[in-house]
């Protein structure tokens, strides 16, 4: 192939940052177009040939990825203003130039890599598990109605990707709100017949600091969730459950 031909390219404008405390800057890249490429394969093309659109050699932009089928949540980033997974962001369907930025709600590690530790801490805080470990066999647990299992399964699709936190106006450096994803997990584990035995503990956890009161009902979360999880229904249902719990705690005899 000695003959030079004009190759169709796609321009990517990437918000980069060399380290957690470094100043962000913009760098653009022209990537040779291939049919059916996604943002990940475009980033891989840059990695193979890390030269920016001015023709300067540069460091390849860093990003995270894992499953490549939108079930792990690792490759979440802001693509053309919307937080979503890079693996399912098809170049053909995106407006050009494609603008990539890290999800700024989270601490930035480098370039498009963010640290989602706060989400996992939130899951610990709300006790998003079912405690069944012990020294003897507890036997089979209570059964769950199929009708309930069906909607609970939808909540189980959460991959802790962070897109809902990025879209939420109340999750930011000024507030301690844990965000929609961990709240919805409280509804999931409280719906489980065995999990329901520790229902009050989880509800009290989200009635504490950074809990459910942080929700201001902008309802962005449910619009952007890549898994279509009914986050606002979960939050509304937990609003009812926490109100009932607070009345029980104050007027009732559960703790006496």
């Amino acid at each position: 192939m000695s003959e030079a031909k004009t190759v169709k390219t796609v321009r990517l404008i990437i918000t980069r940052q060399d380290g957690p405390d470094a100043t962000p800057y913009i760098e653009s890249f022209d990537v040779p177009y291939r049919p059916n490429m996604n943002v990940i394969s475009a980033l891989m093309a840059i990695r193979r040939h890390p030269v920016n659109s001015k023709g300067e050699q540069t460091s390849p932009p860093q990003w995270e990825m894992n499953c490549l089928e939108e079930v792990c949540g690792a490759c979440s980033m802001v693509i053309n203003g919307r937080p979503r997974q890079a693996c399912t962001a098809l170049i053909d369907k995106l407006e050009k130039p494609v603008r990539l930025a890290p999800m700024g709600t989270f601490p930035i590690v480098r370039d498009l890599v963010v640290d989602r530790t706060r989400m996992f801490n939130a899951l610990k805080k709300v006790k998003a598990w079912i405690p069944i470990d012990g020294t003897y066999d507890l036997g089979p647990g209570p059964r769950m109605a199929e009708s309930k299992r069906q909607w609970a399964y939808e909540l189980a699709k959460c991959m802790t990707c962070g897109v809902c936190l990025e879209a939420c106006p109340n999750v930011n450096s000024k507030s301690s709100f844990i965000g929609p994803a961990p709240l919805s997990q409280v509804r999931l584990f409280n719906a489980h017949p065995t999990g329901a035995m520790n229902k009050a503990e989880r509800l009290r956890a989200i009635m504490g600091k950074g809990g459910i009161e942080g929700c201001g009902n902008s309802q962005n979360c449910v619009e952007v969730c890549p898994k279509g999880i009914p986050l606002t229904t979960s939050i509304a249902s937990l609003n009812r459950a926490t109100m009932a719990q607070s009345f029980r705690d104050f007027f009732g005899s559960d703790n006496q």
Binding site: P169, N172, K174, A236, R240, M243
Partner: protein, 202 residues
């Protein structure tokens, strides 16, 4: 502000409806009497003025709840990082407008209370004449139109939020119908408020 944030937030939501929201409805209804003429308004206003232990009612049912609602509301408004530019969804706009209208109302109500209730305490009789005089300035008319619409919007949208926060509206369908109901309340109360305003100008 840590331990009781939940209770404080729910109280903020409740106070916005009872008594503050309820007072707004009563207030606009009294104003609406002006559409029947100065006499009808003066009669309605003097009924309110002659309620027994008025100052106690004012402090407990109006001043304290409004102060709490306003101060905690300012805190809530400034902890949000609004993002309607990237996320221009209906509810996100309502979220922003709720905060903007609330902040505007803090200014408007301070001015409004100064001009009317404080002026009355300082000796100006509170009657049709007082409002007609205040509203003789076109800038003040514009200020009042925005103020009334902000109050009515903040109340009707806040009523929806109250119903969600207190766990009354849970399913998406219930929340959608709740939105329509809040829109109807906005239109009806807005009509009452604005037509009363113009009754003082004619």
């Amino acid at each position: 502000m840590a331990e009781n944030d939940f209770a404080r937030h729910r109280l903020h939501s409740l106070l916005g409806v009872v008594p503050v929201g309820l007072f707004l409805v009563v207030h606009l209804t009294v104003n609406f009497q002006a559409t029947k003429g100065p006499g009808a308004f003066n009669q309605a206003a003097s009924f309110m003025e002659n309620l027994p232990y008025l100052l106690f009612l004012e402090i407990v049912l109006i001043y304290l709840p409004i102060l709490f609602h306003a101060i905690y509301g300012i805190y809530i408004a400034f902890t949000a990082k609004n993002n309607v530019r990237n996320f221009g969804f209906f509810r996100n706009w309502m979220f922003l407008l709720q905060r903007l209208s609330g902040l505007f109302l803090v200014v408007f109500l301070a001015w409004h209370v100064w001009e009317t209730r404080v002026a009355m305490a300082l000796g100006t009789p509170l009657n049709y004449e007082m409002m007609a005089h205040i509203l003789s300035n076109p800038w003040i008319i514009a200020f009042y139109i925005i103020g009334i619409l902000s109050a009515v919007f903040h109340f009707s949208n806040g009523l929806w939020s109250f119903c969600v926060h207190w766990g009354l509206l849970v399913s998406p369908r219930a929340q959608r119908i709740g939105t329509y109901v809040s829109l109807i309340i906005f239109l009806l109360l807005g009509y009452v408020g604005i037509s009363a305003l113009f009754a003082f100008i004619a």
